[in-house]
Amino acid sequence: MDDTIAAVSTAPGAAGIGIIRISGPEAEKIADRVFTSKRGAKLKDRPSYTITFGIIVDEDGKPIDEALALVMRGPSSFTGEDVVELHCHGGMCLLQRILELVLKAGARMAEPGEFSKRAFLNGKLDLTRAEAIMDVISAKTVDAVKAAARNLRGAVYDEIKAIKDQIMEYIAHLEADIDFPEEDFARQDNERMVQGLIEMGERINELLKTYDSGRIIKYGLKTVLTGRPNVGKSSLLNALLKERRAIVTDIPGTTRDTIEEYYNLGGIPLVLIDTAGLRETKDEVERLGVEKAKEVAEEADLILYVIDASEGITEGDLELIKGFPADKMLVVLNKIDLLDENTEEKEIADDLPGYHVLHISAKKGIGLRDLEETIRQMVFRHGFQAGDGPMINNIRQKDALEKSLQALAAAREGIQKGTPSDLVAIDLRQAWMNLGEITGETLDESIIDAIFSRFCLGK
């Protein structure tokens, strides 16, 4: 109970506000890293049981939400430890993003029931509730890990295991060389090991990409709908709405103009972000600008760029479209019902090699199925289907993969810099343990077994 934990404490789904709770000795320090008060006061200097108004900022100091921070110092808090609650605007995407920032700032993702467990251990909960809590605790932790491992069937599980085994291979080589320096066996070649570590890093990165698919299924596809005025953005939206009932609509934030809308697009929850332009009449393209486009592109999973096919594409359109990465961009040529020849369509597609270009008529309902299918293909480009299961959709797994990636990178740098092998082994062990968290395995005897099953050692 010496580390600091954090989790979203409000139920998932759309709500007016969402709360992220941080508990532990570093709670205030961590909160101060992601929260800047309007008056510049640090949370750690605020008296207990006070509310501070401010903004949540990301790693680069960019504001991402307004929030209230509630400081409650131990022992007078729910858990009995120092607690900071960040009351943010609702919406799972936003909360998820803020939670990620909090975790990056040094907190650990709370286990299920862990706040209650801490509360109990610190004597904050009545004894009569102890048994219920014990049930919770014993049902979670290891079982939860095992269940998560079971859920990770098929390709992803096998992949993680394969990477883990290769790391173990390297560890066994290094450790055998350390513990049996005079034995006669082939040492691992440094260059090959570096190459192997690079490849493993790439494989983990591929796995991390599946987190996007998994996350999208769970929290929605962040979509930007944009284009010049009067190209038919609203009618496209309406057409999509007609086709698929919106599962949640219009949850305006209380202090910002951003609207998050959820649509169910053939099973994919679609979240429209930054749609303010839809209601404006002035030239959206100019307002957006290339700089802004980059910023949006970074956050969005999908950009629908709508063009009036009857008017054709402008230089401004082209410049802007090319400012977005092709794999996130879907160019929608609307109003094709007003066209009578095909040549012009081709030209537009030719101007945008590598970009997805689709022709629809929102008004007449032409090409909407294609649109849906294309979005689906773009989103699941890593080969995963919704409902198939084997995806990283859990922030804990993502966390573990990222940590493992860091440790592998440290090991690689170490080898390249000529760092002694026992230190390289420390990083490799760390990488293995991070992956082991996902598959529910611990290092312990594994190393010793690996050493002796591979090498002929001994006097």
């Binding site: 467990k117 014990m134 450790e175 513990d179 002929c456």
Partner: protein, 629 residues
Amino acid sequence: MGYEAGSYDCIVVGAGHAGCEAALAAARLGCRTLIVTLNMENIGLMPCNPSIGGPAKGHLVREIDALGGEMGKNIDETYIQIRLLNTGKGPAVYALRAQADKQAYGRRMTRVLQSQANLDVKQLLVERLLVNPRGEIEGIETETGAVYRAKTVILCTGTYLRGRIIIGEVSYQGGPNGQRAAIKLSESMKQLGIELGRFKTGTPARVDARTVRLEDMSVQPGDEEHEYFSFMTESGRKINIPCYLTYTNERTHEIIRNNLHRSPLYTGKIEGTGPRYCPSIEDKVVRFSDRERHQIFLEPEGLDTCEMYVQGMSSSLPEEVQQAFLRTVKGMENVEIMRTGYAIEYDYVIPTQLKLSLEMKNIPGLFCAGQINGSSGYEEAAAQGLMAGINAAMKVKGKEPLVLKRSEAYIGVLIDDLVTKGTNEPYRLMTSRAEYRLLLRQDNADLRLTDIGWKIGLVTRERYEKYLAKRRLLETELQRLKKTMASPTDQRIEGLLNRKGSPPLRQGITLYDLLRRAEIEYQDLQGIGLGDELPLDVVKQINIQIKYEGYIEKQLAQAVKFERLENKRLPEDLPYEEIKGLSTEARQKLAKLKPQSIGQASRVSGVSPADISVLLVYLEQKRRKESHE
């Protein structure tokens, strides 16, 4: 039938590496102590390889020394070669290893025992343990009927318990190296309810150096510049006798394969489990059949003998087969065997019956140390012996036992592994078993443990003062380095950086930060007049502490976390059967093992983190209930 022969605070059974450390520790801590051996000529005997140290083992010897044990000093005075291994691999795994003059080693240890105050040394065979009606140890009875009474007894019987020697089709009762076995003691232990297991180990033939052409082999000398095991050793023996390297070949393997049907390992004559890290040559040939050759080291057994130990050729094949395959090796075509290689089977105590103090959970006052606990290796034995000796003395004095943590010493890792996890093969310590390897370096064993040894009372004033002086030098100099600035315009520094291919300074930094650069060593500062004249071990310590600070800090933080769970004590009488929420397996294992802390409980196989949470909750409930009453 028996007669009363005497009474002691502590009786140590066996005078091998565990027994010697145990008896010396107990006697030095003021206990009236008796050590008994089957053969007075075999005190401190090395029945297997003639060397001490190596990875993890060398670390153990340094730790034994820092706590006031004898092994480090004994080998420093009797080595014939010394080498620092692993020097290219980082300071945590540097490992000192010495070739010993076996006879000299044993002779010196005999002298130390026989000149130790409070310590009687006797040759006799123990047949029975005596326990009082309360189930506490009371003493021993010998084969001649002598009864010695004691408050504590430490069993250090090595491989002698129901020992059986096997050479091909031949097998007979016996201890190592032609000694007697201790047959009846095993029975007596079983009657007291002690659970025994059976292990096997082996040793290669010793050959006559006069019949070997060493010039056909490659020479393996020791280091010219020596480090020593003991903190107290100022200068060494100036002896550097080489070992020799040669290889088996296809003909060797063929002879072995053709005679496998005569190997007791494959005929089922051997039931005990052998160690994976010490396979016999027949095992290696079978398991790694793709290997064209295996290496063999010929190691001299001492200055006053022609015997050479054939490392890598441990075997229990028949004598004539051993002779035949040895003669296929280059340089050994005419070799004569002086002692035949053999396998030995022996009883050991299932170590999970012990507390971390090495006292039996069910028989207060009875301690076990060394190979009897399922370990192997002289160093592992000595480390346990030292701790058992200390803790028997603590028991006699009515004090708390000394238990070293896994984050504190390799000794802690060794004993915790044995006692908590048990072992299904003779246990060898390896650096890869330590979670906090970077903290448990051989270079800082003195800094880690001398204080503890001093508090216990084993460290002499002379050693303690020498240690304090070293620590003072080190701390003062580290402070100075942190405060002293290196200026970018200082020509001495410019020149040094230039010579070392190190980027020039852009602004002033402390000398401490300058030393973080991999290519700059403290010695370089000394060279340009910015360092002090300091003893070499202090200089080395400064380099290591500064260069690896990042990694060391990381492990220190982990160790602090770890220790918190270690410090949460579990009462011995915890009613595990009644604790709701524990898994059935955890409940049974914990009830049997009675771990002493939450940390130890978490390492018991079959105990999950969920079980640990349940235990924590239970303890808290209990605490609150008690504070309400």
